[in-house]
Subunit: 261 residues, 2 copies
């Protein structure tokens, strides 16, 4: 049996390691990884390759750039690689861990929260990769201090998402959390105002005067926000619409928030 | 040889007929046509079926609703049907002509132009069906008096477009023209202001004070507006963006215009 102090140290180290791995953005797929490697502004932790890849064509290109940039290459069997990519169907035997300054945990965001007004968009089960990519692109271009991307429930940052984001995913302020509820509870405890978007609400997004930290939550494409998220929100906001249109595409809603004047 | 007066009458009748056919919105594909027939607010001119369709399943359903609603059914061989649908690959042997009050020519729009300020969005070679459907949905929901949809250069109102519009295509004020240039020239001659959206412009869309009839032209997804269209425009407007993002998705841009405050 180890003495108690050593145990604590071990667990501290384990937590630190875990935090580090969570802070890595892992992407996969041959083309997305190649394009990311070609971007000199991105810092890589590791390149992961399935040992079944033949070192020719795009794989040879990927290896050449990684070697030239001094990025560690780790080889895995196919199963181990798919545990890293978390997507055996789409990884094509290639994954890469990227270290991004603007990819932080909700706890880190809270401890460095900007002074004054601050707007966040949080996603509750956005499952369509096209929508997620478009949301990322609009948030990156618009006036939003962070996009909360829960690791449970939302589409993964797949090649399709990266493509739909037109590569902006690597420069968007992203805030990760385990679940949307966890992120909203932590933010709520520090005084943030949680707003959900709903076509049934009576207050218009455009009339709403945001103060302090405001989190706008966008819900699932067909179901909207979940009851649990609704219960955490202080305000329900709508976008007033003509011609009895019932709802807007979620990426459109995100853009209207991101460019709200 | 016919006397001159008769000639004129013939050609008048021909023109009238041509105008009538142009004013019909022709949709195709089994599911889109079935769903449109199920909408009691839509008025149909004719249902077109390929005589090779077996009258069972969804085709039987389509025929039953058309008969119940007293809609004329015309049978064609496959080639003739694809001349009507203009899309042999996707028509699935089914097309329908819809008579929509809010589907008008640019000439009709001009002769009934609303008094005061009026905003139009015009599309210059928007070829992605998903984008076109999303633009229609946002225009329908937003604060726009008409969407100019040239018959040359833009995506057709295919099943994909109708789906992405979530059915709003049938209640959106649509203005058809042969080409974008023709529409802009006619509108320009009646005093409308033509604005193109461009990431290189210095005036912000949000600062621009629109007066009278304003046409916002959105250009092709990769090439932007064409030089011919650029030459017809008085103002170039941009959407100011952060993080060195170069452009927004065209459907996002349309929504920011449609909900501009």
């Amino acid at each position: 049996m180890k003495p108690a102090a050593e145990h604590t140290q071990d667990s501290e180290q384990y937590k630190k390691k875990q935090r580090f791995f969570k802070s890595l953005l892992t992407i996969y797929g041959r083309k997305p990884v190649l394009e990311a490697l070609q971007n000199p502004q991105l810092r890589f932790f590791k390149l992961h390759l399935a040992d079944s890849n033949k070192p020719q064509g795009i794989i040879a290109e990927i290896i050449a750039i990684a070697e030239q940039r001094g990025i560690e290459i780790q080889y895995h069997d196919k199963k181990a690689l798919s545990r890293i990519s978390k997507n055996a169907k789409q990884d094509q035997g290639v994954a890469a861990d990227i270290q991004l300054k603007q990819y932080i945990s909700v706890e880190e965001f809270i401890s460095n929260k900007p002074q004054g007004n601050c707007s966040l968009i949080a996603l509750d089960r956005i499952t369509n990769p096209q929508n997620l990519g478009m949301i990322i692109r609009s948030v990156c271009a618009g006036y939003i201090d962070g996009l909360i991307l829960p690791q449970k429930g939302c589409a993964a940052l797949s090649p399709l998402v990266i493509k739909a984001s037109t590569g902006t995913v690597f420069k968007t302020p992203l805030i990760y959390s385990d679940s949307i509820e966890q992120a909203l509870e932590l933010l709520s405890n520090t005084g943030a105002t949680i707003c959900t978007l709903s076509s049934h609400a009576s207050t218009s997004l455009f009339d709403y005067q945001a103060k302090g930290t405001t989190v706008y939550v966008l819900g699932n494409e067909t179901e909207g926000v979940s009851p649990a998220v609704q219960a955490l929100s202080q305000h329900q906001l709508c976008i007033p619409m003509n011609n009895e249109v019932e709802s807007l595409n979620v990426a459109i809603t995100a853009a209207l928030i991101a460019f709200k004047h």
